[in-house]
């Protein structure tokens, strides 16, 4: 019996880690992601395991996503971590119950990737980018921001 229990734990661990695996994304993938979310209000959260404020705001973003998903809100996370931190990033997302699929930047050139998202963005984290239902970027939140401000901006677009 104990052996079955152990196998069960192993299977659960395998399934959850497999489901939380980060999908690599580059500039073209980002454009596709935004285009594929038309019809929904999209908030893209750029974060990293090394970014303390990003990790602090992640649970609040997840809560917001759960509360507003039925109204057409979609939260997508993109990790700016390096490949060596991928496992840690997956663990953080799993612990927070972040929506899947989740992504990790894998661009040939970080600078081109940053510029393709918003030329005014320096690459500083945390960074949130809000898109309306037509896929147009409406605004960005760079740095720590009160969640009430994010929620107000999202709700206005729903």
């Amino acid at each position: 019996m104990k052996r079955f229990e152990f196998l069960g734990v192993l299977a659960a661990a395998f399934c959850s880690s497999a489901s939380a695996a980060l999908v690599p994304i580059d500039e073209a993938g980002f454009r596709k992601l935004v285009a594929g979310s038309r019809g929904k209000v999209l908030l893209i959260d750029f974060w990293a395991t090394w970014c303390v404020p990003c990790r602090e705001e992640l649970p609040q973003l997840v809560k917001l996503s759960r509360r507003l998903s039925s109204r057409g809100f979609r939260l997508i996370t993109i990790s700016a971590d390096e490949p060596e931190q991928q496992a840690k990033a997956e663990l953080v997302l799993k612990q927070q119950g972040a929506p899947l699929p989740a992504y990790r930047k894998q661009a040939a050139d970080d600078e081109k990737f940053i510029n393709s998202i918003d030329p005014k963005w320096s690459g500083a984290l945390p960074a949130l980018f809000l898109f309306d239902k037509t896929g147009r970027m409406v605004r960005s939140f760079i740095g720590e921001v009160p969640m009430s401000e994010v929620e107000a901006a999202v709700t206005k677009l729903l």
């Binding site: 990293a48 090394w50 970014c51 303390v52 404020p53 700016a80 390096e82 970080d110 600078e111 940053i114 510029n115 963005w121 320096s122 690459g123 500083a124 984290l125 945390p126 605004r139 960005s140 939140f141 760079i142 740095g143 720590e144 921001v145």
Partner: protein
Amino acid sequence: MKRVAIFAALLATLLLGEAFGQEFKVGSTVSDFTLSDLKGNTVSFSSLRGPTTVVIFISTRCPISNSFNDRMNDIYEDYSAKGVKFVFINANANESADEVAKHAKSVGFVFPVYKDFNNVVADRFGAQSTPETYVIDHDGVIRYHGYIEDSTNPARVKRHGLKDALDAVLAGQPVATAETKAFGCTIKRVRPTS
């Protein structure tokens, strides 16, 4: 109608710049500003600058900034020998002068660090992240703005933005890539910038 649209666009640009407070950009001249040393004394940029000056915004807590600590020491030593002056600035509201002093000692910085209280100087430069660097030439003109190197992992570095810019400025050449970007930590301001 076209004239109205142009005027509106110009006004919007001015207002945006005003809101952000950014004065110093690549190609513009840096006017004097003041910082505090870690004992609380006011220090002017004009007393710190040289024929070529590097301004770097750094952090005690940002892992990205910290991944460059040894490289900043190396660049400081290599280019100080060539007459370049360095101004390392901590503009983070959540990192006190005392914390900055302890951090500098613990990581073995060979250069002084100055505090920019209320991120006044960071706002004038429009600096968003740490580490973020600027190279200023003998005329006070910003010739480079961006990263030190393009990767936190020294083994993965492909471009040496700061060194390349310094070499060009010291050789009297144009800087090939005057603006660069990389992922970093936001400067923790006393007020939000966006």
